[in-house]
């Protein structure tokens, strides 16, 4: 089976680099599945899970808080804002962040606060969603 080179980097570190048979990423317009020989594509990502499927190996799950995805015939690059491996997600921190964001939304002051809080809420909610999914 054919594979494609995938590189996942965040502003802090390089998270993944290797040959992959299927990559699933949370595109801003819906989830995307990238297989080898995909047409060139450029899109932004929303907070969510990047799933990496490899032959004969366990799936790898990486959480990204947003960023960009570039597909080239021979290489796929994810430029994530921040990213963590799924099992490194700090659940307590995510729950706390979610509560904080919800509170900020409840007593909203300005549009700026709302946009910021909504972004935080989306990230925290996506993290918790991923954790729930992995537990099942």
């Amino acid at each position: 089976m054919s594979t494609i080179q995938v590189n996942i980097v965040s502003a802090e570190t390089e998270l993944f680099s290797g040959e992959v048979s299927l990559l699933v990423a949370p595109g801003a317009q819906g989830e995307l599945g990238i297989k080898p020989k995909h047409a060139p594509l450029l899109t932004n990502l929303k907070p969510g899970e990047v799933r990496i499927k490899r032959d004969g190996q366990e799936d790898e799950n990486i959480f990204v808080s947003g960023g960009y995805l570039e597909v080239q015939p021979n290489v796929v690059t994810i430029l994530a804002d921040t990213a963590v491996r799924a099992h490194d997600i700090d659940e307590a921190a995510a729950i706390e962040a979610k509560q904080r964001a919800e509170e900020a939304l409840a007593n909203r002051k300005s549009d700026m606060d709302v946009a910021h809080a909504q972004a935080e809420l989306a990230i925290a909610a996506a993290q918790l969603e991923l954790l729930r999914k992995l537990r099942r």
């Binding site: 802090e12 060139p40 450029l42 899109t43 932004n44 597909v71 690059t77």
Partner: protein, 289 residues
């Protein structure tokens, strides 16, 4: 020959200086390790970003973003100079400024104006004389944050948007290894295919599928690209600063050691001369009796 007392005092003062340079060397060495780790951690992002933008400029997009369109008629160029806040780091800043001056001269010879954005106290102090600093940041510390540099970067981007500047360069120190740092100049805008290192084999014209729209997407990613490159330059520069300071302070400590040795020799000679003189006076005195 100077009196032995003066030489003794001089030795004491050189020893004190040596203590200070030794302490600075050790502080720089410990900071250097952390700075290098930070530099290496954020490097992949900046490199991959450069690659993606390189690919982008090779594509034939439906929407031509101003940041990838080459501008033929260059009236004014912007240069971002990344320097340190503090001195005592050898020739690090001076070498960098020489490179900047060379570039400035090249453009000015062609009748093109140059506008500077300076990061770090040393650059602003040096280039103030030339009177063309558009914006400036300093006091980023040992752990620079992206937010701190955004103001200066967006200033340069706005000038580019408005057409005030037609090219944007960044000049920074490149960290080769602990012993070697060299000035590096990179063209940020307009982004060109040289960034991608030519890793694409394309004979036919192609374009991306954009989701959502090309305009929105390119706007975001190109801004992010400039920010990431400047941020990486700043992080690199901290690692360079610490290594350069460590090497400079080590050399200073060694030199102080040499100086102390030669002063000691002088001191012993002076002491011996004094004893010899005293002896000959006693002998002379005894003979006279």
């Amino acid at each position: 020959m100077a009196g032995s007392k003066e030489i003794k005092a001089k030795i004491g003062s050189v020893k004190n200086t040596q203590k200070i340079t030794k302490a600075m060397e050790m502080v720089a060495a410990s900071k250097m390790r952390k700075a290098q780790e930070r530099m290496l951690a954020s490097r992949p992002y900046a490199e991959k970003m450069r690659q993606v933008i390189g690919h982008l400029s090779e594509a034939n997009p439906e929407y031509q973003h101003p940041y990838v369109l080459p501008r033929e008629d260059v009236k004014k160029v912007g240069i971002i100079v990344v320097s340190t806040d503090r001195g005592l780091c050898g020739g690090l800043n001076v070498n960098l400024f020489k490179q900047v001056l060379k570039t400035m001269k090249e453009w000015q010879d062609k009748g093109v104006e140059v506008e500077l954005t300076t990061i770090g106290k040393k650059a602003s102090a040096f280039f103030r004389r030339f009177g063309n600093i558009a914006s400036h940041v300093e006091g980023l510390g040992d752990t620079p944050h992206l937010n701190d540099i955004l103001g200066a970067v967006s200033g340069a981007l706005k000038a580019y948007d408005k057409g005030d500047i037609d090219r944007l360069f960044i000049v920074q120190n490149e960290f080769v290894n602990t012993m070697t740092q060299k000035p590096k100049q990179l063209q940020l805008l307009p982004a060109d295919a040289s960034l991608g290192e030519g890793d694409l084999e394309t004979e036919h014209s192609w374009d991306y599928i954009y989701e959502p729209s090309a305009e929105e997407l390119l706007d975001g990613i190109l801004k992010r690209y400039v920010e990431s490159q400047v941020y990486q330059a700043v992080v690199d520069n901290v690692a360079c600063e610490m290594s350069a300071r460590m090497i400079a302070m080590k050399a200073a400590t060694d030199n102080a050691g040499d100086l102390i040795r030669s002063l000691n020799l002088q001191y012993n000679k002076a002491r011996q001369a004094a004893i010899t003189q005293e002896l000959s006076e006693i002998v002379g005195g005894a003979a006279a009796v």
